[in-house]
C-alpha cells in the first residue's frame, strides 16, 4: 500500500521539490503553512510521515510537531523537520517536541529519498 506523506513549508518551491522528489513512491500532501497543517491534523487525515519546515511565520514547525504528538493517531508516526545548519537551537527544540529526525536545507533530492525510506518502514 502506498504511504502518505504530509509536507509543510511556507516556501512553495520547497513544497514543490519535496513533492516532485517523493511523489513517485508516495502520496504527498503539501500544506503551505503551520496553521493549515494544524487544521489537517485536526481533521484526522491519514498520514504516515510528516515533513515540516521549522521556521514559518505565525505557527512554526515546533507547534506542528507538538500538535501531532498530542493526537494519538499521529503520536507514533515519524516526523522529519527541515532545518538549516544554523538552527541548532531550533533543531533541539523540535527534537524535544518529538521530531524523529531532520533534513538540512539545502538538500539533495536523493538524500531526502534516503532519509524518508529509513523512517517510513
Amino acid at each position: 500500500m502506498r504511504k502518505t506523506i504530509m509536507t509543510v513549508d511556507d516556501s512553495e518551491s520547497i513544497l514543490a521539490v519535496v513533492s516532485t522528489t517523493l511523489e513517485e513512491e508516495y502520496d504527498v500532501i503539501t500544506v503551505s503553512g503551520g496553521k493549515e497543517a494544524l487544521e489537517q491534523l485536526e481533521k484526522g487525515i491519514n498520514i504516515d510521515l510528516i515533513i515540516t519546515d521549522l521556521n514559518m511565520p505565525l505557527v512554526d514547525g515546533i507547534e506542528v510537531i507538538k500538535k501531532a504528538r498530542s493526537i494519538s493517531q499521529y503520536s507514533l508516526k515519524p516526523i522529519l523537520m527541515l532545518t538549516t545548519e544554523s538552527q541548532a537551537q531550533k533543531k533541539l527544540e523540535a527534537k524535544e517536541a518529538g521530531a524523529t529526525g531532520w533534513i538540512v536545507k539545502p538538500f539533495e533530492p536523493e538524500k531526502l529519498k534516503e532519509v524518508v525510506k529509513k523512517v517510513i518502514r
Binding site: 512553495e12 518551491s13 514543490a16 521556521n55 538549516t84 531532520w102 523512517v119
Partner: protein
C-alpha cells in the same frame, strides 16, 4: 529537477526579492525597527535554504553571510551601520541579477559577485568572528575518531546498528574495530540485546555534524563520541595502521599516542573534541544578568500585588472573584518558580574556580590531595554562588592547611598518602547544603578550648558542649593554626566566613572526628528574594517564619506547655528547646487558652516556637531591614503584607541562639 519546482522557485524568489527591497528601504527610514531586520533575516534564511537546490549556488553562498549579519543585528550583538545598509542594497540588485542571469551582463555579474562576497564576508566576519567565515566552505577532509556504543535495548527499538555503520562508513576511508568484551557467556546471552560497540577511525570531508546526522534517529539509544583529530590522514601511514590493528580496541588517546610515536611532532594537530550528546542542556540562549534582575524585580512586585488581591478577595467574597484570585495566586507561584530557576547556576561554577587553587596550595604545602566533588549540578542563586566564592576558598585553604596532614604523617597513621578533599552539594528542602569534607587530622576540642581560654574568649572553667567548642572557631580573633602559615594565617578568620554565610541567611556547622577528618557544612537558602512563609501572630504583631525551616505545627492548650528547667519540652517523645516568642519579644503573657507550637529544624537543630495564632501561608518578598537594625539579626528581613503593613521575617537559627 522537475520543471514545476524550478518554476515555483523562480516565482517565489522574485517575490522574496521584492519583499527584501521593500524591507531594506523601510529599514533605512526606521533604523530601530526590529520588524524590518527580522523580515530581511527571514528572506536571507529562505534563500540560503533553497537557492542551492535549484542550481543557484552563488545566491545560497552569498545569502548565508547576509543571514549571519542580520542574525547578529536582530540579536542586537551589532548595530546597523551605513556599510551594512549599503551592502544590503547592492545585494538586492545582485541577487536579482544572479536569478535572471541576463547574458549580456554575465561578466559584470561575475565581477560584482566577487566584490560583494568579499564585503559580506568581511561584514559577517566582523559580526560573528572568524569562525563563521569558513563555515559555508566545503570542509577539508579530516580524520575522526568515532566511538559508537548502542544501548542494550538498541535492537528492540527496531534499529540495526550494522545498517547505521554502513551508512556512516560510506562517508570515507576507515579503520574499524568491533568491541566484543561485553558479550556474556552463552547461558546469559540474549538474542535481542546489543552487546557490541565500535571504534572507528574515519577520514572524510564530511563535517562532524554530518556524521552525527547519521545517528539522528538513535541519539537517545546510544552513546556516541565523534572527535576530530586533524587533517592528517593517518590511515595512509602503514606503520601507524599496523600498530593500531595490533592494539585492538582503541580510544582517541590511543590514536594520539600512536600518532605521536609514528609521526613527527610538528604535524600532529591538536585535537578538538566534539562530543555528540543527546542531552538537551547544551543549547542555551544568552540573557544578561540585568534582564534577569529586572524580571525578578517584577516578579517580586507581582507577588506583593497578588497578596493585596487575595486580601481584598477575602474581604469582598464573591465566588467569581475568589476563583480568579486563586488562579492568579497559582500562576504567580509558577511564574515565581520559573523566574527563579532562570537565575540559578550549578555549583560546578564554583568548583572550576577552586581546582587550580587546591592544586597550587597543596603543592606549596607539600601535601598530596585528591580534590573531588559530588552533586556538581546542584543549583543555587547566582548571587549566592558569587558571595560563596571567598568563604569556600577560605574553608578549602583551612582544610588543606590545618586539616590534611603531610604525606609522611598520613602514612605513619596508616592513612593513604593522598588526602581527599570533597566538595559535596545537595538540595535539602528549600535549602542547598554545601559541604567540604577532608580526611585529615580533625579538630581537637581540647586544643580549641585551650586556645579560646588563652585568647580570653571564654572563662577557664566554662562548661561547653562539643558543638559549642567548635563554634568558638567562628569567633573573631580565633585561629587554631599553631604557626602562622602563608596559607591560613592571613588575618581572615573563620568569623569572616561565618559572617558571609549568615549575611546570605545561611548557617555553618562543623562536624569533626579527631584523627578522621572534618566536615564544614554550609546551609544556604535556595533564593534570596522570595520565600514561602507561614504568617503567625502575637497580639497585633505579625511575623513570617520560612516554611523551609518548619517541620510541623501543633495547636495545644496553653497550660499543657510545661518546659523543664532547661527550657525543654517533650513533643512526640522528643525533647525540644522551647522558644516562647512572647517572652523573647518582651510581650505580656497571653490570656488565650489555645496556643500554637511550630516545630522548626535548621540543620540538625530542632526548636519549638510558641506563637498565639497561625494566620496563613504567605509568599514573602524579602526586603532588607537595613543597617539600622543590624543587631536584630533574628529578623532576616521584612516583607510587605497584602494590607500594606510590614511583617518581619524570622530567622529560626538566630532565634535559637537568642535563647541559648
Amino acid at each position: 529537477m522537475a520543471e514545476k519546482a524550478h518554476h515555483k522557485f523562480m516565482q517565489e524568489a522574485s517575490e522574496l526579492i521584492d519583499d527584501l527591497e521593500q524591507s531594506v528601504l523601510e529599514l533605512e527610514k526606521e533604523r530601530g525597527n526590529a520588524a524590518h531586520i527580522e523580515q530581511i533575516f527571514r528572506v536571507m534564511h529562505t534563500f540560503k535554504g533553497t537557492a542551492k537546490m535549484f542550481g543557484f549556488d552563488k545566491i545560497g553562498e552569498f545569502t548565508h553571510y547576509l543571514e549571519n549579519i542580520y542574525d547578529e543585528l536582530r540579536a542586537e550583538k551589532i548595530t546597523l551601520s551605513e556599510g551594512i545598509l549599503e551592502v544590503t542594497f547592492q545585494s538586492v540588485d545582485h541577487i536579482r541579477n544572479l536569478l535572471h542571469q541576463p547574458a549580456e551582463l554575465a561578466h559584470a555579474i561575475e565581477q560584482q559577485h566577487a566584490q560583494l562576497l568579499e564585503k559580506v564576508i568581511h561584514l559577517s566576519g566582523a559580526a560573528t568572528g572568524i569562525e563563521t567565515s569558513h563555515k559555508a566552505k566545503k570542509h577539508a577532509a579530516q580524520l575522526y575518531y568515532i566511538h559508537f556504543a548502542p544501548a542494550p535495548h538498541f535492537i528492540k527499538t527496531g534499529n540495526n546498528p550494522l545498517f547505521l555503520l554502513e551508512d556512516l562508513l560510506r562517508h570515507g576511508e576507515y579503520h574499524m574495530h568491533t568491541r566484543t568484551e561485553n558479550i556474556p557467556s552463552v547461558d546469559q546471552y540474549q538474542a535481542d540485546t546489543t552487546y557490541l560497540a565500535w571504534d572507528i577511525l574515519l577520514y572524510t570531508s564530511s563535517s562532524a555534524s554530518e556524521l552525527e546526522d547519521e545517528f539522528m534517529f538513535v541519539m537517545d539509544d546510544c552513546s556516541l563520541q565523534i572527535t576530530a583529530l586533524g587533517t592528517q590522514n593517518l590511515l595512509q601511514n602503514g606503520a601507524f595502521l599496523h600498530d593500531l590493528k595490533k592494539a585492538g580496541s582503541f580510544t582517541e588517546k590511543t590514536i594520539l599516542s600512536l600518532q605521536a610515536a609514528r609521526t613527527s611532532p610538528e604535524t600532529a594537530t591538536p585535537a578538538k573534541t566534539h562530543k555528540a550528546k543527546s542531552a538537551s542542556g547544551n543549547h542555551v540562549i544568552k540573557v544578561t544578568y540585568e534582564k534577569i534582575d529586572n524580571l525578578m524585580g517584577l516578579v517580586s512586585e507581582l507577588v506583593t500585588t497578588q497578596a493585596r488581591l487575595s486580601l481584598y478577595t477575602d474581604q469582598h467574597k464573591t465566588s467569581e472573584l475568589e476563583e480568579i484570585a486563586e488562579n492568579v495566586e497559582k500562576l504567580v507561584r509558577q511564574l515565581r518558580d520559573e523566574a527563579f530557576s532562570i537565575s540559578l547556576l550549578p555549583v560546578s561554577h564554583l568548583k572550576m574556580r577552586f581546582e587550580r587553587l587546591v592544586r597550587d596550595t597543596a603543592k606549596d604545602l607539600h601535601k598530596k590531595v585528591h580534590f573531588i566533588s559530588e552533586g556538581d549540578d546542584t543549583e543555587l542563586d547566582k548571587k549566592i554562588i558569587e558571595a560563596l566564592t571567598d568563604p569556600l576558598l577560605h574553608i578549602l585553604r583551612n582544610s588543606l592547611g590545618h586539616g590534611l596532614e603531610l604525606p609522611a604523617e598520613r602514612l605513619a597513621k596508616g592513612k593513604p598518602e593522598f588526602g581527599t578533599l570533597l566538595l559535596k552539594s545537595y538540595t535539602s528542602g528549600a535549602h542547598v547544603v554545601i559541604e567540604v569534607h577532608d580526611d585529615g587530622a580533625g579538630i581537637d576540642p581540647t586544643r580549641v578550648k585551650q586556645k579560646a581560654i588563652e585568647k580570653g574568649l571564654i572563662e577557664p572553667h566554662a562548661e561547653l558542649s562539643e558543638k559549642e567548642i567548635y563554634n568558638l572557631i567562628f569567633l573573631p580573633g580565633f585561629s587554631t593554626a599553631q604557626a602562622i602559615t602563608d596559607v591560613s594565617g592571613r588575618g581572615v578568620g573563620m568569623d569572616v566566613v561565618k559572617k558571609a554565610v549568615v549575611d546570605l541567611r545561611g548557617d555553618i556547622q562543623i562536624e569533626s572526628t579527631l584523627g578522621k577528618g572534618t566536615i564544614m557544612r554550609l546551609i544556604l537558602p535556595l533564593s534570596l528574594s522570595i520565600i514561602d512563609g507561614l504568617l503567625v501572630q502575637l497580639d497585633n504583631h505579625q511575623y513570617i517564619i520560612p516554611l523551609s525551616s518548619i517541620e510541623k505545627c501543633y495547636e495545644v492548650a496553653a497550660d499543657s506547655i510545661t518546659p523543664d528547667m532547661n527550657g525543654l519540652i517533650v513533643l512526640d517523645a522528643e525533647q525540644i528547646p522551647l522558644i516562647d516568642l512572647r517572652k523573647v519579644f518582651d510581650l505580656a503573657p497571653s490570656e488565650k487558652e489555645r496556643t500554637n507550637l511550630i516545630v522548626s529544624r535548621f540543620g540538625n537543630q530542632k526548636l519549638a516556637i510558641q506563637v498565639d495564632d497561625i494566620v496563613d501561608e504567605y509568599q514573602a518578598v524579602i526586603k532588607p531591614l537595613g543597617g539600622m537594625y543590624k543587631h536584630q539579626d533574628f529578623a532576616s528581613g521584612a516583607s510587605i503584607l497584602g494590607n500594606g503593613r510590614v511583617a518581619l521575617v524570622l530567622d529560626v537559627s538566630r532565634l535559637g541562639e537568642l535563647v541559648a
